[in-house]
Amino acid sequence: MSDHDADPLAEVRMLLTGAGITAPDGDLASLQRVLGTARRRMERMYAVDTGDAVPAAVFRAELDGEVGR
């Protein structure tokens, strides 16, 4: 367990600061409260057996301006 796991507020602050965002404490506290929900949602996504599936959003190599077929 990392230090951030033990302190969700510190983790939220670190993630936003790393993105160049300075948010007031009240906003950080609100985001801290939803962090657990977001993590639980993500764990449910990892619980799906995705095998070797590629992401739905797949890069296509045709030139910009061409239309999908």
Binding site: T22, A23, P24, R41, M42, M45, D49, V54, A56, V67
Partner: protein, 470 residues
Amino acid sequence: MTPWTIERAGRAIRAGELTSERLTEECLAASDRFDDALGTYLARFDESALAAARQADAELAAGNDRGPLHGIPLGIKDIIATDEGPTTAQSLVQDPAWGDQGDGPVISRLRAAGAVLTGKTTTMEYAIGRPDFDKPFPIPRNPWNTERWTGGSSSGTANGVASGQFVGGLGTDTGGSVRLPAAYCGITGHKQTFGLVPKSGCIPLGLSYDHIGPMARTVWDCAAMLTVMAGADASDRTSVDRPHVDYVARLDQDLPARIAVVANPSVAASASDSMMAAFDDAVAAIERAGVEVVLLEVPHYDELANGTFLALQAEAFAWHRRQLQERWLDYGRPTRLTIAQGALISGGDLIQVERVRDIARRAVIAAMDELGVDLLLSPTTGYPATPFTGADPRAVAMSALHTPAWNAAGFPALSVPMGFDVDGLPCGLQIIGRPFADDQVLSLGHRYQQLTNWHDAVAPIHASSGGTQE
């Protein structure tokens, strides 16, 4: 006292009983009466709308008929650029110069079809979040009860159609933002198959989940709009080149032999008893028309919904990051807190969401194949429109869980009025189809509107004030 529909107004115009100019004047007069109370518009284009209406009349008089949208007033959600002026996204942050690009392909197509644009309608800031009373923008209110929200985020388009301020309009839908306000306001709204309609010219929210969709009083009207809006455009690489379809011409196809109700436990668990009662009545009406109704537990249904929320936050964060760095406090609090959740999602997380998205999409199609169904039904929302103050937290949290799965899947999904709850607030029936089977979805919705008259119900604010008449 019923507001015009595109179908009936078009018929009246061609019969010489109505002109586009008079229709537009009636709509503008309705806005004079209702806009302040309902918070429909961010910008009105009265002069250019009347000029376009006169031109439409002159063209028709000269024998140049551009089709069902000729001379029809439409409202446009203010995250979609138009030639008339800036696009605000109902935000203090949005750079007005963004709108200098003018009409995107969908707006160009509507104009070429003779539509009259009456103005830019309210939304939630950047099409996300909740009503924000701290910012200097109108609060969109529900025409069935002005103490309640319209739902978001295509709020002004929904309440404007419901109150006769324009006959149809455009919304956008990333997790339900066409279907939710359509259901809350008692109108019809369609989120078409992802890629069917180009979305360039629209400020993105979730880049791979966004749709520009039609909103109107009836399915016929939405089909007429979609017929014009659909088709690939080089400016949007996610748009898909498909044969042109006249969706109005396909409305009267045979009813399907069998359809399925989405039977996942989370559907009923996140809906009120009166919403489920209205839904049961709607299903029974379709069953009486000779359609076999079976149950389908949609595979990965909750994961599709979860994935939409997670990915749209990540995609929105990617688009907004620089502005969040520089103008955090200029965003509304609900908006910035929602978008900032994208910073809590790792790169690996987003890849997994997209892997699940593809697995789930295939699994849903396989399940429909196995059951022999092309169409699914569910309530559009779990609860009707919530009040601005004193809302049941459960209703707020649970109401919008029935739509987002279909943004992740990319399937077409339509909301049509299906009655009222115990408080007299509109409820919506959601009809979902296979990718690019929008014609089947619209056809079932149209047949449902032939079997019922919920879509003819008139919002009290309109009925009580001598609104647009036909």
